[in-house]
């Protein structure tokens, strides 16, 4: 399968405060790809580089098979983008904004736009500046979907929205993917939302990629182990050791990645015993990954 977005050794720097260093990303075509990271980790900067809005200092970005930013006009005609902040003219009405956007996209789907106006219960005559936060978000999603792109890039599309609006937006996105087989690249720090819908996930922190993995693998390979009797030095284990702490009296608590059940034997061969293997959900796994990444870098 080809990648909808392919990034190799991307470098970018603004002043001395922040840099993106050696970033590699592979977003498989047809996937719903969750781009996770705390605020300020470089998600929006990466998105702006992908869209050709910023110029990298080094590395290679390929979007829908074409190099960026060199082929931005050709690529952007096939990409729907919803930025973090509403970027539309507040003095235009919903209807005017739809017509305005439609003029730029030859593949514009009038039927889908109408259907979404209705489903999202948007008032065509209302000024953009007068819309609620949720209505603004819905309109921006509508504009991105109706242009019938092969790739949707969504920067925190549901951040700060109420659950009903979030639900409507996610349903619309999922319906679009079922019908069109498009790729969705969605950045968020709302882990639970991505847990539902994404089949791939990447985690960023401080301009660097911590992990990129199929969702199931990340979710089901991250465990908390209750271990006793293991030596301090455990060689090169077949799993990733994310953290190791002694817990109150009852041995130690290990958080591990890339775990498989058969790996208990590795710990037993060292003289330790595994008393429990506890599943972590994506949020726990995400927090542990960040903690261990930051500890190593300190």
């Amino acid at each position: 399968m080809t990648d909808a977005i392919h990034i190799e050794r991307l470098q970018y720097r603004v002043g001395n405060a922040f840099e993106i260093k050696d970033l590699d990303l592979h977003v498989p075509a047809g996937s719903i790809y969750g781009f996770l990271g705390p605020n300020g980790s470089g998600k929006t900067t990466t998105i702006r580089l992908v869209l050709g809005l910023l110029r990298p200092l080094g590395g290679r970005i390929t979007v829908l098979g074409s190099p960026m930013p060199e082929h931005h006009a050709k690529v952007l005609a096939r990409v729907g983008y919803v930025p973090e902040q509403p970027h539309l003219d507040v003095t235009l009405t919903v209807r005017e904004l739809i017509d305005f956007q439609a003029a730029f996209y030859p593949r514009w789907d009038r039927g889908r736009a109408e259907e979404l106006v209705e489903r999202f219960e948007l008032d065509g005559a209302r000024l953009f500046g007068r819309l609620s936060k949720g209505q603004k978000a819905k309109l921006m999603i509508l504009l991105a979907l109706a242009q019938c792109g092969d790739l949707l890039v969504l920067d925190e599309p549901t951040d700060g929205l109420d659950p009903v609006v979030r639900r409507d937006i996610l349903s619309a996105l999922v319906t679009y993917v079922s019908e069109r087989g498009a790729t969705i690249f969605i950045s968020s720090h709302l882990v639970h939302e991505l847990e539902r819908v994404c089949d791939w996930v990447a985690v960023m922190d401080d301009g660097r990629l911590i992990t990129e993995s199929p969702m199931e693998k990340l979710k089901h390979g991250t465990k908390r182990l209750v271990v006793s009797g293991a030596p301090a030095e455990i060689g090169t284990p077949p799993f990733r050791m994310l953290s190791r702490e002694s817990s109150n009296g009852a041995g130690e608590s290990w958080v591990v990645g890339d775990w498989e059940p058969a790996m208990t034997s590795y710990i037993e061969n060292l003289g330790g015993s595994v008393h429990d293997v506890i599943d972590l959900d994506l949020e726990d796994g995400f927090v542990e990954l960040l903690r261990s990444f930051r500890k190593v870098r300190q």
Binding site: G30, I32, P106, R107, D109, G111, R112, E115, R119, C148, R167, L170, S171, V174, T175, V177, S178, E179, R180, H192, E195, R196, V197, C198, D199, E216, K219, H220, D276, D279, D281, L282, E283
Partner: protein, 145 residues
């Protein structure tokens, strides 16, 4: 060259979440596609879904549960591989006629799975077997031997 793109849309009924899939839990360690397949298998075993009953379309179920369509497809493919449903391309996914005894077998497997879950939960929260058995007897109003 511009390729004509058929970007049709068909209205979807949004708010009809079927009770069959109520409470599917994305945070559970059990993968979503397994949870969906389990629900369908249970419904077939108990007769809630009879022979030839249609399953929701991939698009409909994905939108209702707000999950990746690929997850629904994987669940349906697994069910097909296990002989529970038939995927007719372009028409939908339908429950197959099951061999006699298969429903009963499936039900007893479900029962075993429920008991295992209960036992694992009890072990984790430190409830002893004797206590569990007493609680069962009280709930059922009968003595379990």
């Amino acid at each position: 060259m511009r390729v004509a793109v058929n970007c049709y849309s068909v209205p979807v009924h949004w708010n009809s979440e079927p009770s069959l899939f109520h409470g599917i839990d994305p945070r559970s360690p059990i993968p979503l596609y397994v949870q969906i397949a389990d629900r369908v298998r249970l419904a077939i075993a108990t007769g809630t879904l009879g022979s030839a009953a249609p399953l929701p379309s991939v698009r409909q179920l994905a939108a209702e549960l707000r999950i990746n369509p690929a997850t629904v497809i994987q669940a349906y493919r697994d069910l097909e591989a296990q002989g529970f449903v038939e995927i007719r391309h372009g028409a939908g996914t339908f429950v197959r006629e099951l061999a006699p005894g298969r429903r009963a077998r499936e039900r007893s497997q479900q029962a075993v799975a429920l008991v295992r879950k209960l036992l694992a939960e009890a072990r984790r929260s430190g409830v002893s077997l004797a206590e569990l058995q007493r609680a069962l007897e009280t709930e059922l109003g009968v003595k379990v031997t």
